[in-house]
């Protein structure tokens, strides 16, 4: 009996994967533990191992092909089995069960500035006539045509016509919903102008210059960002609360610490202080370390701070959220070292699933780009995200006097199902007191 290799679920949000590279070919002997392929998930490129010995009988999926989790991708002939006798059509493979705990791995807050220049439509499967279980989809001809034009997956639509037939209205409503969510890049056809009463009906085509767009194929990561952030912005009742912090004291402290720790190779960033302050503030404000769970709120006992890391545009861009686990228990230098290490790894070769999962609160910082103020989209299942701008030297009022000082805007995006406005204000006040009296962060 041959062994069927299926597309593994390599992260808890992974739904499909791309075989980037096969390390095996048909006829090769493989041993348990061998890395047979590099698989691109929605987050990262990961190695895929086999857990059996045998001979590669069939490669079923070409390099560069994306398939859903659970799809058969190769057949291995067991010891004593003739590889050439292995049946080409494997038994329908069940999707691999998720082994990781069901905590949602984070993606990130996505500032609008990070959007690619040419938004490409998400690559939806072509309009098909059958669902995954082989049931025939009934669809009116024009609805089928519209689905193709708008790259809508028919299997995802419940038809409202007789016998569940998908009709024009179903597609247009779907497209409208998607367009209002900003998730579909397709164009909506302009309705033809009405014909004057009494005139012969000739089709009126208004000439408009074509957009001449270039199609950009989107990576698994880009698809995940698109899907997760649309889901976040559509389902979470976002609102924002902003407060400005005086940064003079923390900048002085940082400069003096960095000077004294330079010999030990420690260079603290402003963000490290913010990570620590955000984490420590959870003791007083547990609802900021919580998740909305449909009919109840889960308050997490561990404080894992997610830090959004942008990836270089040369390597396809995108961003990941690196998780600083138990950040409330870690010193500034531990947070600093860990953040640097994770960011470097994310940019070099990608993070492992466990390095990106289980964040309970996320920080997105665009201060290093000179941004003074922005808002972020909540990273589900978090209930808040903190967006920090740059510390900027500006005229400020201190002790009733106009002075020159350093300030930073901190903008919280909040899930109103979990956190009310006054709670957000109190959390920011706690953060403010820690940032403005930074000695409190050293203990």
């Amino acid at each position: 009996m041959s062994i069927t290799l299926t597309m593994p679920r390599l992260s808890d949000t992974m739904e499909q994967g791309t075989i980037i590279k096969w390390n095996i070919k048909e006829g090769d002997e493989v041993a348990s533990g061998a890395v047979v392929a590099d698989v691109e998930t929605d987050k990262a490129t990961m190695e895929m191992q086999v857990y059996d010995d045998g001979v590669v009988a069939r490669i079923l999926v070409d390099e560069g092909t994306q398939v859903p989790v659970g799809t058969a991708i190769a057949l291995i002939a067991e010891e004593g089995e003739d590889p050439s006798s292995v049946d080409d059509a494997p038994a329908a493979a069940e999707p691999a069960p998720t082994e990781a705990p069901a905590a949602e791995a984070p993606v990130s807050a996505e500032p609008v500035t990070a959007a690619p220049e040419t938004p490409a439509a998400p690559a939806a499967p072509p309009a098909s006539t059958a669902t995954g279980d082989g049931r025939r989809i009934k669809v009116s001809p024009v609805a089928r045509r519209l689905a193709e034009e708008h790259r809508v997956d028919l299997a995802a639509i419940a038809g409202s016509g007789p016998g569940g037939r998908i009709i024009k209205r179903d597609i247009l409503e779907h497209v409208e919903r998607a367009a209002s969510a900003g998730a579909v890049g397709g164009t909506v056809p302009v309705p033809l102008p009405s014909v004057e009463p009494g005139a012969i009906a000739v089709p009126v085509i208004r000439e408009v210059p074509a957009l001449e767009s270039t199609e950009v194929e989107v990576s698994g990561m880009r698809q995940t960002i698109a899907r997760r952030l649309v889901e976040s912005k559509q389902t979470i009742p976002h609102y924002q609360v902003k407060m400005c912090f005086a940064m003079d004291a923390i900048l002085d402290l940082r400069a003096s610490m960095n000077e004294k720790l330079a010999a030990e190779g420690v260079k603290l960033s402003v963000n490290d202080f913010i990570v620590r302050a955000s984490a420590l503030a959870m003791a007083e404000h547990p609802m900021f370390n919580a998740s909305w769970a449909g009919d109840r709120i889960l308050v997490h006992n561990r404080v894992n701070i997610g830090v959004a890391v942008s990836l270089s545009e040369e390597r396809g861009g995108g961003l990941v959220v690196a998780t600083i686990r138990d950040a409330n228990l870690k010193s500034l230098r531990m947070i600093s070292a860990e953040t640097k290490s994770l960011a470097g790894k994310a940019r070099d070769r990608g993070l492992a699933t466990e390095e990106m999962s289980d964040a309970t609160f996320t920080i997105s910082n665009l201060g290093m780009f000179g941004v003074d103020d922005f808002t972020a989209i909540i990273n589900p299942p978090n209930s808040a995200i903190l967006a920090c701008g740059a510390a900027i030297e500006k005229p400020v009022v201190r002790d009733h006097q106009l002075a020159v000082g350093w300030e930073m805007a901190a903008n919280l995006s909040l899930d109103h199902r979990v956190i009310d406005g006054a709670m957000a204000a109190r959390y920011l006040a706690t953060l403010k007191s820690m940032i403005e009296e930074p000695m409190r962060l050293l203990a």
Binding site: S140, P141, V142, A143, R144, R145, S160, G161, P162, I167, K168, R169, P191, L192, S194, V195, E196, P197, G198, A199, I200, A201, V202, P203
Partner: protein, 328 residues
């Protein structure tokens, strides 16, 4: 547009008189067309103007005078044959179907047949089954003929004038129910070309196509549906042969829905033909199959209430439109 308003029957008369003045080969014959001014007063006063050699009363013998007129047409005259009702043309089936439309073909082009057969078609109002024929179902089946079916007075004049000038046999279908209808009709020469349908009412949600009297039922239904937020585009086909498929297709490609309304019976009818052609030309544009509204598949009832229900009336059209649009 002309400010002058006249009746449908006067518009028909103007077309005949205009062409008879222009061309002395044109003449009118039929039962009571001369001395009695026509059973429906379409030819009132024409005997006075053109005299008994060109306005000819015939015996009650459709097969005879139709056949005679076909012979005259073959020899170069341009007869207009009035049937008091198209129902009475059935006894002349052999000359009008077996001779006139085939003459050009069977004579190898030696004899044409430039003739117009005209008369009342369809249910005229409690005339009973034998006098309420819609012949477009049967007769449009025959190659070699043309068939015009005006719904408004200006088209009555323009289409009939074009029919008289046409070199092929034209079956011209009028409705007793429309003869008294008044409308703006251009004075002087007025020709409406064959094979050019007209959008009577523009709309965006559904295309309704009809011919002749039921066009009015369609407009009535469209007005009713407008109140429900359904925008109907109503197309008056004007001629069944030739059929203006282009106008219909352009509309269906816009609306994605189509209802055909035809006063003949459904089986093998202009309505079924239009539906078939729309399905072929617009397959990928349709959101539902083409719906058809016809007269009920029974002999025309005599009782007034039954006759109303039998016809493709506005209520039945509105139901078909809602069904085509998947509304309730």
């Amino acid at each position: 547009m002309s400010d002058r308003v006249i009746e449908f029957r006067e518009a028909l008369r103007e077309a005949m008189s205009q062409e008879m003045r222009r061309d002395e080969k044109v003449f009118l014959l039929g039962e009571e067309v001369a001395q009695y001014d026509g059973a429906y007063k379409v030819s009132r006063g024409m005997l006075e103007e053109f005299g008994p050699r060109r306005i000819i009363d015939t015996p009650i013998s459709e097969s005879g005078f139709a056949g005679m007129a076909i012979g005259a047409a073959m020899m170069g005259l341009r007869p207009i044959v009035e049937f008091m009702s198209w129902s009475f043309s059935l006894v002349a089936a052999d000359p009008i179907l077996n001779n006139a439309p085939k003459m050009l073909y069977m004579s190898g082009g030696q004899f044409g047949c430039p003739i117009v057969f005209r008369g009342n078609d369809g249910a005229g109002g409690q005339l009973g089954s034998t006098h309420s024929w819609c012949v477009e179902g049967m007769f449009s089946n025959v190659p070699g003929l043309k068939m015009a079916i005006p719904a408004f007075p200006d088209d009555a004049k323009g289409l009939l004038a074009s029919a008289i000038r046409d070199d092929d046999p034209v079956f011209f279908l009028e409705s007793e129910r429309l003869l008294a209808m008044k409308g703006h009709v251009p004075e002087g020469d007025h020709y409406v070309p064959f094979g050019k349908a007209l959008v009577r009412k523009p709309g965006t949600d559904v295309t309704i196509i009809s011919f002749g009297r039921p066009v009015h039922f369609c407009l009535e239904a469209a007005e009713e549906l407008e109140k429900e937020g359904i925008s109907c585009e109503v197309i008056d086909g004007r001629t069944i042969r030739p059929l203006d498929l282009d106008t219909i297709v352009a509309s269906v490609k816009k609306t994605n829905s189509c209802v055909v309304v035809d006063q003949s019976w459904s089986f093998g009818s202009p309505g079924s033909e239009v539906a078939a052609q729309v399905h072929a030309a617009c397959f990928d544009d349709l959101d539902n199959h083409v719906m058809r509204v016809h007269s009920a598949d029974v002999p025309t009832p005599y009782a007034s209430n039954l006759e109303q229900e039998y016809l493709p009336n506005a209520r039945r059209i509105a139901e078909a439109v809602r069904s085509a649009l998947y509304v309730a």
